[in-house]
Symmetry: C2
Subunit: 308 residues, 2 copies
Amino acid sequence: MNETTREFLKIVSDIQGNELETAAFNIREDSQCAGRQSTPNIKIDSKEDGPGLVIHISKNAQKETVYIPACVTHGDVDDLVYNDFYVEAGADVIIVAGCGVHTSDGHDARHNGIHRFFIGKGAHVLYKEKHIGTGKGVGKRTIDPVTDAYLEDDAVLEMDTIQLSGVDSTVRKTSGKLGARAKLIIHERIMTDGDEKAKTEFEVELNGEDSGVDLVSRSVAKGNSYQEYHSTIKGNCRCTGHSECDAILVGNGKVNAAPALFAGDIDASLIHEAAIGKIAGEQLIKLQTLGLTSEEAEAKIIEGFLRG
Amino acid sequence: MNETTREFLKIVSDIQGNELETAAFNIREDSQCAGRQSTPNIKIDSKEDGPGLVIHISKNAQKETVYIPACVTHGDVDDLVYNDFYVEAGADVIIVAGCGVHTSDGHDARHNGIHRFFIGKGAHVLYKEKHIGTGKGVGKRTIDPVTDAYLEDDAVLEMDTIQLSGVDSTVRKTSGKLGARAKLIIHERIMTDGDEKAKTEFEVELNGEDSGVDLVSRSVAKGNSYQEYHSTIKGNCRCTGHSECDAILVGNGKVNAAPALFAGDIDASLIHEAAIGKIAGEQLIKLQTLGLTSEEAEAKIIEGFLRG
């Protein structure tokens, strides 16, 4: 494992100390495996038919964490990986899937991770995904994650995704298909700056009675950056869907938000809200009267917004 | 003017008595002109290069009304008309553009009206559009209106559109381009039943500083009917945009709502809200305890919803 990967692990996986001593993990570095460990309840194997992992999580896993960071540490890497998660009925697991992409050698670096989650009845998954790009020079840093989740009855998937900074281009596709009483909760936060581009696509099908989705996207577009948000919630039965996308513009940032609701059943109850705008002048002035500079006030407000 | 047209005029143009004696009007019946009158301030001419009207409204028109109903009274009519409105700076006018389509002879009847509004500085236009289909048999009743509005600085266009019932298929396209401080206010109400289909598309460009749009769409989809709502608000400068689309489902009604906001300027402030669902049980029960049958209670709630 090289130094760049070590640095990324702290940032994208929140690994501060000896977490990896006992936890299940697989560290992917420049398309290779830089370390792997299974535990009695979480079994990590290489995929037989292509790059990637097959991860089996048994029902005995209760509040157990598995780390699967992927790092690209130099240019001229176009990493593609397929990871499949099979989560047994009743399991309760935290999956930490950070991704860092670094290039300073003028060549492009890309990570494209395709994750599939097969979540058994009543299982609970918290999926944490932090993305960051680092390095200097013209080499483009790209992260294109695809997430497909299949939730059986009563399963719960909480996705907490955040793109911190430095990713020149990202296209993020997430789909979910929900059984009866299954819940999908997605909390996405993206900040772009410079000439960065970020595109998000959600497609959720509520197929089982009393299934529900709650989709919250917060984005900040600074500099000359551009963000696109597309979401489709299909209510095919008695179900609830809520989506909310709020964006703050700074400088010449631009945002395009296109959420769609499809109600195909009289008992589908779907709601959407969106708001795009700059930081309110009163908010800035209030913080400045408390002694902050205008830059500090802006940073404070954005920080609170992305946390919310 | 035939009997069907006479009936339509009462419903779609709210003509109860002798309004047409003094007002400007053009009555279109089965692709022909069944009556026309200009006034000193509102001049109606036939288009030279195709079917339709050129309507000049002078600045002296203040709270004056012009009626331009279009009626299709039997099958085998596919009416296409282009109407251009030139509204002089400072004018204040009410344009009543109802449309009725009737067929009982088994053949299809269609009205396709393409309206362009060139609204001068500071002019105010209230545009009222009521659509209805009547008659029996397999003949399909179709109304496909296209409205393109160009608002100069400080101009105001209020559109109040309502589709009552009986229209088997409608595709409604409305676009607006707004100058500085111009305001576009759209209030749309659509109720569909049976196998009816209704599709709405709005595209509004806020190009002038401090321009604004307020888009409210209320729809009720009953029976096996299907409604689609698309809207795009492009904020290209300091401006405000608000769109709201609420839908009530009854029976097997289905609704697809896909609004989009594009903020291309830091001073664009855009908001969208959407809600789709059935009538809340408590609301129905409350009205039933007051003595209404469940059908009466439902009708009452829908009536209030569409009025709101």
